[in-house]
């Protein structure tokens, strides 16, 4: 045997540059509330929340192989928990974080059972969980059924500082979760989940702790979706269960991740930006907009399952934010 000299590396000049650009962009974004008008700041907050949802759904489906159509359960519960905590006297912004943590704790027992289901059964089983969560939240006197309630405690802040604080909270949540996922994917869990993504049985046969890895991802995803829900209620103030527990959120997540590139790190972020642009320009057209989203997701699932970034990555062999490895032979 003549062992070929190879080297394994992660960082390329391109990826170092792009990570630098991303860091710089994040630093610039921090200043947005001082530079942009109110409407632009609100829109960016929305974009960050979409980004969180896309990242979390991609984590679950793209890496864990777990397609859920019930993540709105955690989105809605996150918003509900935030409203409840604020009502109980906790300061609003810390309440957003505590709400997400509480929902993550609730996700632990849910994951224990739901993760035993496979593929389609898991997908729609999560939907039942979302429906049940919705109905149970409706029973709370504070929520008043479908009438809903609002996060009135936000009135303690003047409109401008509220807008800026929510913006920073959303930015921090998205950036924090993105780097957390980045770090996790580069570590031991990353190797495990990428092996599961490619072939679950084979991964198990080489000693990957499939269940443990899936559980971690499930809880992380619940946490992120809950944070997104809590942030959403902080931007819109009103909490109507029907809106928050709507399966439409899943339609958005599927669209963003499928179009951007499922199972890639950069894909969902690209998907979120595209979704945000599509919504900005076509959102007003209502029904046709939803038909377009559904049809696009369907077309990508059938014709371009790797999505935009997955196709680019494969064609050109580039990684901007390296979570994998490059193997090159040394001359």
């Amino acid at each position: 045997m003549n062992p070929m000299q190879t080297s394994v590396h992660r960082w390329t000049r391109l990826s170092m540059t792009s990570v630098g650009i991303v860091l710089a962009a994040q630093a610039v974004l921090v200043a947005a509330p001082w530079l942009l008008d109110a409407n632009a700041v609100d829109r960016l907050t929305t974009l960050f929340i979409y980004g969180i949802l896309a990242l979390m759904w991609n984590c679950l489906a793209g890496y864990g192989g777990l397609v859920s159509v019930g993540q709105q359960a955690f989105f809605g519960l996150g918003a509900y928990a935030a409203v409840r905590l604020a009502h109980a006297g906790l300061s609003v912004y810390p309440a957003l974080l505590v709400a997400a943590l509480l929902v993550a704790a609730v996700a632990v027992p849910i994951g224990l059972f739901m993760l035993r289901l496979r593929a389609g059964e898991f997908a729609i089983g999560m939907w039942v969980v979302a429906e049940l969560a919705h109905l149970l939240v409706n029973l709370d006197q504070l929520v008043q059924g479908e009438t809903g309630t609002s996060l009135i405690e936000l009135n303690a802040y003047p409109a401008d500082s509220r807008r800026a604080l929510t913006y920073w909270a959303a930015l921090a949540a998205m950036v924090g979760l993105a780097w957390l996922v980045f770090a996790l994917l580069r570590g031991r869990l990353g190797s495990a989940v990428q092996a599961i993504r490619d072939n679950e049985d084979a991964a198990a046969s080489v000693g990957v702790q499939v269940t443990a890895a899936k559980r971690t991802i499930f809880i992380l995803s619940a946490f992120g979706c809950a944070a997104a829900g809590a942030l959403w209620v902080a931007t819109t103030i009103s909490f109507q269960p029907k809106t928050y527990f709507s399966v439409q959120w899943t339609a958005y997540m599927i669209f963003m991740v499928l179009v951007g590139g499922i199972g890639t790190f950069e894909g969902p972020i690209i998907g979120a930006v595209l979704f945000f642009l599509v919504e900005t320009f076509f959102g007003a057209s209502g029904v046709w907009y939803m038909i377009g989203l559904g049809a696009t997701a369907l077309a990508f699932a059938l014709l371009l399952p790797r999505g935009i970034w997955g196709t680019v990555e494969r064609r050109f062999g580039i990684r901007l934010l390296p979570v994998g490895y490059f193997l090159t032979s040394r001359k």
Binding site: G120, L139, I254
Partner: protein, 300 residues
């Protein structure tokens, strides 16, 4: 006593509707191992088709179904050709994504076409929607509920006979068991899957008719129907046709009891029973595996 008997009776009859609704989902899952997330939306599509025939052309639902069923069958065959077939080849995840996309498109196209108003087929079947028979013990049973229950039994029995007794059924079972081996023995699996999907979607047409006659529907009602159908399938044991009938009845009785307890209890009880059955089954299979291991250790 009579109140309990009434609850059990009404719950069982309601379960007949769920069984009818779930039969297509169960059949498709058994044959092709895919869960069609557009299942409920297709039932609503059939409901609108029947409503359209009745409202605009004056064709009653019982005659209209003779037109709508073959059309839905054709739609099923087309869906298989352009969506299911390609999705199945692409792994476990793609069918979920593509059928979810299909449901989103279908719901919103219906909204675009028919608006947000809820519709019902009840006005087009005279008094049949609320006619009932009186039973001894002061019990009343709706004639429509009995018809729907009977329809469920006929559909499930028909599917069972089709699979057990006919040449087509043998081919479907072969294709379900091992598509590659079936192909080797000369079975055109593509054609077989197309026919199976067509049959499943035809049963959905019947479910849509039942939905429209006994209640109202709107463009976004499909997801609720999908969840009911799925719960009936899982409670009864996925892939088993008669199990689906049992699952539907259990779901119907649970919802009827829940409705007595709280206005929202109808849905909560149904979802709760579904989750309890799910957990119990996982626990039981763990226990069974443990017992088998212990036995093997002793004998081995």
């Amino acid at each position: 006593m009579s109140a309990i008997a009434n609850l059990a009776l009404q719950g069982t009859l309601l379960g007949g509707y769920y069984a009818l609704l779930a039969s297509g989902l169960s059949f498709l899952f058994g044959v092709m191992r895919i869960i069609n997330l557009a299942h409920g939306s297709l039932a609503v599509v059939a409901g609108y088709a029947l409503w359209f025939l009745a409202e605009r052309l004056g064709i009653g639902p019982f005659v209209g179904i003779l037109v709508v069923m073959p059309l839905m069958g054709l739609l099923g065959w087309i869906l298989h050709r352009i969506i299911f077939e390609r999705s199945m080849r692409a792994g476990d995840l793609v069918p979920i994504l593509s059928t979810f996309g299909l449901a989103t498109v279908a719901d919103n196209v219906m909204f675009q076409k028919f608006g947000a108003d809820t519709r019902s087929l009840a006005p087009y079947i005279d008094t049949f929607a609320y006619d009932s028979w009186q039973l001894p013990g002061d019990l009343y049973i709706g004639q429509l509920s009995v018809l729907v229950f009977g329809l469920a039994v006929v559909v499930l029995g028909g599917l069972h006979l089709l699979l057990a007794r006919t040449s087509l059924g043998r081919q479907i079972r072969a294709a379900a068991e091992d598509p590659e081996a079936a192909l080797l023995t000369g079975i055109d699996t593509r054609r077989i899957y197309g026919i199976a999907t067509a049959i499943a979607v035809m049963t959905v047409a019947l479910a849509g008719m039942a939905l429209g006659m006994r209640a109202t529907f709107d463009p976004y009602g499909g997801s609720q129907q999908l969840v009911f159908a799925f719960e009936a399938v899982v409670i009864g044991g996925a892939g088993s046709l008669w199990g689906t009938l049992v699952g539907g009845v259990v779901l119907g009785i649970a919802q009827s009891i829940g409705a007595q307890l709280n206005p929202q209890g109808f849905l909560i009880a149904g979802h709760a029973v579904f989750l309890v059955v799910l957990v119990a089954r996982l626990y039981a299979s763990d226990r069974l595996a443990g017992i088998l291991r212990a036995l093997r250790a002793r004998t081995g």
